[in-house]
C-alpha cells in the first residue's frame, strides 16, 4: 500500500487530494504510470515541468523505489506564502 497526496492545482485536476494505491507499485515511475492509466489528464499534469515528487517527505529527482506504506506527494510549483 502507498499513500498518494496531491497539492495545489493537481488535486483540482484529479478531483481528489489523498488516496491509497494497494498494493504499492515498486517504484515512483510505476506509480506515475498507474495513476496515468486511470486518469490521463492527471498523468499529463504530473509530467509538467516544475512538478516535483517527495517520498516520505523527502524530495526525489528521477525514479525511486517505494517501500510498502510509502507516502508519495506530488508538488506543483510552489506559490510561496
Amino acid at each position: 500500500m502507498a499513500r498518494v497526496l496531491l497539492f495545489g492545482p493537481l488535486s483540482d485536476i484529479a478531483g481528489w487530494r489523498e488516496r491509497t494505491v494497494d498494493p504499492a507499485p515498486s517504484t515512483l515511475k510505476a506509480l506515475r504510470a498507474a495513476l496515468s492509466a486511470e486518469d490521463a489528464a492527471l498523468g499529463e499534469a504530473l509530467a509538467r515541468p516544475g512538478v516535483q515528487a517527495a517520498v516520505d517527505k523527502i524530495l526525489v529527482r528521477g525514479d525511486a523505489t517505494l517501500a510498502n506504506g510509502a507516502e508519495v506527494a506530488f508538488l506543483p510549483p510552489m506559490s510561496g506564502g
Binding site: L5, F7, G8, P9, D12, A54, K57, A73, L75, P76, P77, M78, S79, G80, G81
Partner: protein
C-alpha cells in the same frame, strides 16, 4: 521557531513573545505581511501546506539564514487555510547583536517565503477560485541573495 496556524494572529503579541527577556540582543526586526482589503474588492486567500514537509523546508532555510547573518534567533508564523481581507498572513522576526544583520536576516527570509516556500495559494472570490503563482518581483527579490562570483557587483 516555525509555526503554521489556522487561527488568526496578532503581530504585536508575537513581537512581545519574541522580544521578551532578550538582554543580549541589540536589534530585532519584524515583518508582518497582510492581505490587503483593496476597498472590499479583494478576495480571501486559501493557503495549502504539506504538514511536516513545509515546516521542515522553512526550518532549513531559517537555519541557513541564522548562520549566514549571525542571527541569535528567528521566528516564523504563517497562516494556512482561509485568510480574509485585512488579516495578517505571515510574521517573521529576527534577533541579532547589530541592526544590519537583523534587517538582512528578516528581509532574506521573507524573500524566500514569498517565492520558494512550499505553499500553494488560491484566491477565492465572487468570480470563483484561482491559483496564484509568485510575482516576477518575488523571484527577483529572492535572487538578490543568490551567491555571486567573488568581485561581481551586487544587484541593486
Amino acid at each position: 521557531m516555525i509555526r503554521l496556524t489556522q487561527a488568526p494572529f496578532e503581530p504585536g503579541a508575537l513581537l512581545a513573545e519574541f522580544s521578551r527577556g532578550r538582554r543580549e540582543t541589540g536589534a530585532i526586526v519584524s515583518f508582518t505581511g497582510l492581505v490587503r482589503a483593496e476597498g472590499g474588492d479583494s478576495e480571501a486567500l486559501e493557503l495549502e501546506a504539506y504538514p511536516g514537509f513545509t515546516e521542515a523546508a522553512i526550518e532549513r532555510i531559517a537555519m541557513a539564514a541564522k548562520a549566514r547573518f549571525s542571527l541569535q534567533d528567528l521566528m516564523v508564523v504563517h497562516r494556512i487555510g482561509r485568510v480574509g481581507p485585512g488579516e495578517p498572513i505571515v510574521f517573521v522576526a529576527a534577533a541579532a547583536v547589530h541592526r544590519r544583520a537583523a534587517f538582512e536576516g528578516a528581509d532574506h527570509l521573507m524573500d524566500y517565503l514569498k517565492s520558494r516556500a512550499p505553499f500553494w495559494k488560491k484566491s477565492i472570490g465572487a468570480g470563483g477560485e484561482r491559483w496564484i503563482e509568485p510575482r516576477p518581483q518575488d523571484y527577483e527579490d529572492a535572487a538578490r541573495w543568490d551567491e555571486r562570483a567573488p568581485g561581481s557587483e551586487p544587484a541593486s
